[in-house]
């Protein structure tokens, strides 16, 4: 994976920071631009969830693993907050942390044996973990509500310094979801830029070599998996309070699959990939909703075409354009030189 080195990147970094700044400003102003259109707000919330999921899954990918347990951990977060809210009446502001803690605990415990496996074997083992979590929710009908799931998980209210925010309003929830997604993206970005992130990539590139220079590979694998699953669980908590009902099907394998599609279409090299992929594909998905099954077919075609013809994903488009422009300029220069001689 081509990762940008830190040398001669100052100018590029500045451009990147400006672009990110514009994106953040646009996202925060979106409710005013869209005149608080409820449907648009809904899409925005959906996008935020997908961005958070794809970005956290990408964090596992920086180690070279594809995890299909993501939807399951999202379910742990969602069910924790739902049960605490419905049985004890606790607000999401406490529950989300309990859910994150629980998911982190489960993830770190399960990743110890899980990380013994590699490549396809890991893929299957994580799939099994996700599926077992989902089926456990379905099995205990008394406690988890079985396939019918849990209902009436109301959106939270917040009273803070005399300020009363009711999150049953779409705009308020939009801000909640967007701020959360930004937080996840920012944290993953920071992790990726840190020493730890570099170690993740070194394990991706050459695990045995990493081990031989004294990196405790297992520890970093467990760390990445736990952090990513914690983010997934927090997304799940927000998801539950937004949709107000959850059932095991909300945390189906498809959720993980779509997160993976977002990453692949967006690009694998930097954190911009999952963000781009999740945003663009969610928008396309909503726009094509009336098309029914053709929408899914189109998704498949887009996915295959991306892999075959643009393996770098959407994030590689600027680089491609630049490379193309460079080549054109060179050809032109070369051509004129030939003409003069």
């Amino acid at each position: 994976m081509a990762r940008n080195g830190k040398i001669k990147m100052n100018e590029k970094n500045r451009i990147g920071a400006v672009i990110w700044g514009i994106v953040v400003a646009l996202v925060l102003l979106m409710p005013f631009i869209m005149q608080q259109n409820k449907y648009m707000m809904h899409i925005g919330i959906q996008m935020s969830f997908n961005v958070a999921l794809a970005t956290s899954m990408w964090l596992i990918w920086t180690l070279g693993f594809v995890s299909f347990a993501h939807a399951g951990f999202m379910g742990i977060g969602a069910y924790t907050t739902a049960l605490l809210f419905l049985r004890l009446g606790w607000p999401i502001w406490i529950n989300i942390w309990i859910g994150a803690l629980l998911a982190g605990l489960v993830a770190s415990l399960i990743s110890l044996p899980l990380m013994r496996t590699r490549a396809v074997y890991f893929f299957m083992a994580s799939w099994a973990v996700g599926e077992v979590i989902k089926r456990i929710f379905a099995m205990f009908r008394q406690f988890f509500g079985g396939w019918d799931g849990l209902l009436f998980i109301l959106p939270p209210k917040l009273s803070f310094l005399g300020l009363h925010i009711d999150f049953s309003s779409r705009v308020a929830y939009y801000y909640l979801a967007v701020v959360f997604a930004m937080m996840v993206v920012f944290l993953v970005y920071r992790i990726n830029r840190s020493r730890t992130g570099t170690i993740f990539w070194s394990i991706h590139e050459a695990e045995i070599l990493a081990q031989h220079v004294g990196i405790n590979v297992l520890r970093y694998k467990v760390l990445a998996f736990t952090v990513a699953c914690t983010f997934a669980a927090m997304t799940g908590a927000l998801y539950a309070h937004y949709h107000t009902f959850i059932n095991p099907k909300s945390f189906d394998i498809w959720v993980s699959e779509f997160a993976l599609v977002h990453i692949i279409v967006g690009g694998l090299a930097t954190v911009a990939g999952p963000v781009l992929g999740a945003t663009v594909l969610t928008a396309v998905d909503e726009a094509l909703r009336p098309a029914g099954y053709y929408r899914v077919i189109l998704f498949g075609v887009v996915l295959i075409l991306t892999v075959l013809f643009m393996p770098g994903g959407l994030e590689s488009i600027p680089r491609r354009i630049r490379a193309l422009a460079e080549r054109l300029r060179k050809n032109e220069g070369g051509g004129s030189k030939d003409a003069t001689t």
């Binding site: 044996p113 496996t117 074997y121 599926e131 692949i264």
Partner: protein, 289 residues
């Protein structure tokens, strides 16, 4: 009581053989091409629908229909391999996973559009049954199990005795050395992919006869096939056979005595536990990527 257990055991054997066909198809593809074929179950679904339309439009004999379905899906598999999987050969497994995921979207939604969302059935080829140890066994199940066993045996002989079969084993053991020995690995790739898909299609035909068919049935088969293949170890036919019977028996015993939910959890738990103790499956080779 013995009747019940005998009945469950018979069901387990029939299901086990059909799972084995799907899983051996997948393990062939895995072993030879080293790519993830996540859309394997879709070929199983296509096989079943080929047989359904064979009856609907032609109404010719059953086994001829199974053969036709195998041939059609074989060709389709070869086309898919040449167009989509060949360019990805040697790249990260993520790409083949993505392409086959795209195939799932296309084939299963395309199936829902063209075949309709209704559950359908394939007519039985033989009626009646017999009683053994108090268990009622339909002749259909006996024939299906026998045919599956023969197919597995035939494949085994093919891999052991024929030149192409030996080339396939060589490629799955060590692609580089195999191609140094003058084996045309590209040819082996498409033959292997087609053969694997055809096996899955035959399983689809017979499962469709025993139960019902619907365009979304493919994913379940993919799931079972992956569980079995990973459990047995990639590329290992013996492993796939053992895994298939393990999953088949878990399915039939636990589903009858408890619930389908618990059967699922137990199946996945079995896969997980085996992977914890043997990270490369029961008979698998370690797969670096």
């Amino acid at each position: 009581m013995t009747g019940l257990f005998a009945q469950i055991a018979v069901t387990g054997i029939t299901i086990g053989f059909l799972y084995a066909l799907i899983a051996i198809g997948l393990t062939l593809i895995f072993g030879i091409m080293r790519t993830i074929q996540y859309a394997h179950g879709e070929f199983y679904m296509l096989g079943a629908y080929c047989l359904f339309y064979w009856f609907k439009f032609l109404g010719w004999p059953y086994w001829l229909g199974v053969l036709a379905s195998a041939v059609i899906v074989f060709s389709f598999g070869v086309v898919v391999q040449l167009l989509l999987f060949r360019p990805l050969h040697g790249k990260s497994m993520l790409y083949s996973l993505a392409v086959s995921m795209g195939l799932i979207f296309i084939i299963s939604s395309g199936g829902l559009l063209t075949f309709g969302t209704v559950v359908r059935g394939i007519p039985k080829f033989i009626a009646g049954g017999t009683r053994i140890f108090g268990a009622f066994i339909a002749y259909e199940r006996i024939v299906i199990s026998a045919v599956s066993a023969l197919l597995v045996l035939g494949l085994w002989i093919f891999l052991q005795k024929t030149k192409t079969g030996m080339a396939m084993r060589a490629v799955s053991q060590d692609p580089d050395t195999a191609s140094l020995q003058g084996i045309n690995t590209r040819r082996i790739h498409w033959i292997g992919f087609g053969l694997g898909s055809a096996l899955s299609a035959v399983a689809g035909c017979m499962m469709g006869t025993l139960m019902s068919i619907i365009p979304t049935m493919g994913f379940m088969a993919t799931m079972k096939a992956f569980m079995i293949v990973i459990m047995g170890g990639l590329g290992s036919i013996l492993g796939a056979l053992i895994g298939a019977f393990l999953i088949g028996f878990i399915d039939s015993f636990v589903t009858t005595l408890a619930t389908a939910e618990i059967a699922y959890i137990m199946g996945f738990a079995a896969v997980f536990i085996i992977l914890v103790f043997k990270p490369a499956g029961l008979f698998g080779q370690e797969w670096e990527d």
